[in-house]
Subunit: 187 residues, 2 copies
């Protein structure tokens, strides 16, 4: 409910109904809507970042393999749960009191094998633009953004049904690594 409608639009009564329990039971278990929401946010973000951490720190796979793996993983995840990306960005946006700080993404990232590999690629001249932030914005933009504009948008533009949209995303699993590679070599 939170993921689909956001915090403010989600009603505790609807949540209780969907859970098949009584309204008061929510308060009994979670004390408040806010507390329940924090649980959901934490679980959602944990799932989101755990996959990231595991891949980024895997020393047995190359830089290019990581890109391939991340793209396919996220496309698989978000194809099954398409509400998650927008949920994360929306709620982080409106509750920017560092909801993210708790996950130590910065430290996790800069100490990762991935960033080390990134810098090696830069040093070797394989990556022209050395700013990691640009790289991440590009990769996430190409990979995650389609799920943010989402089905309604794509449907309006291309008259695709759900199945065709999934097919399109499936195609991107193979296309994205080539595109990212091209971006890295550019300029």
């Amino acid at each position: 409910m939170f993921q689909k409608k956001g915090y403010a639009a989600a009603r505790t009564r609807d949540i209780a109904e969907e859970a098949g329990i009584n309204l008061a039971l929510l308060s009994y278990y979670f004390r408040s809507k806010e507390k329940l929401f924090e649980v959901i946010v934490y679980e959602t973000l944990s799932g989101f970042f755990q996959n990231l951490i595991d891949v980024l720190n895997d020393g047995s796979i190359t830089f290019e393999e990581k890109i391939e793996l991340l793209a396919t993983n996220y496309i698989t995840i978000f194809s099954k749960e398409p509400d998650i990306p927008l949920f994360i960005f929306s709620e982080v946006h409106s509750r920017s009191e560092n909801l993210l700080g708790k996950f130590f993404i910065r430290r996790m990232l800069i100490t990762s094998v991935f960033v080390q590999q990134f810098q090696e690629q830069v040093a070797a001249g394989k990556i022209k633009e050395p700013n990691l932030l640009h790289f991440m914005m590009n990769f996430l933009g190409i990979t995650v953004f389609p799920f943010i504009i989402g089905k309604p948008f794509i449907s309006a533009l291309g008259r695709l049904n759900e199945r065709q949209f999934s097919q399109l995303m499936e195609e991107r699993k193979k296309l994205i690594p080539a595109w990212i590679k091209a971006i890295m070599s550019a300029e």
Copy 2:
């Protein structure tokens, strides 16, 4: 208020206060919160699409120049009003009853000079992936997505302040055309 907090979280009393008018005056002018919201959505989307239409149908500029122009335009706009992208995608997401259909984006797009130019590039072998949707997802992903993950995210990752974030976006005005070009040639 709607753009920053979304429909459900925005309070009519806060809107009235921010507008410097009495609460009842909102109802007098707009009948309801819903009607006011529709006005805001319409104005926001109009601004968003008008620029698009103007650029896409300009016969006097090349395909590559269009990409350059669109990237710089959107980065300029969203740097000034960073809440707009997330607002559009959030509200379209949760109110998918074709809020978009009214803008005839599909027709506007497929009859545009831009799409014609795109197909010429495909025919000439300059663009390897012929699916326009992939191209659009990539372009918008690279251009718009940074404003969706936004300052809070980038700040958490790169410890940037507002000024540095803008600087980063400014850099992208020149980088994006090269990246898109690289993507088009890829594979």
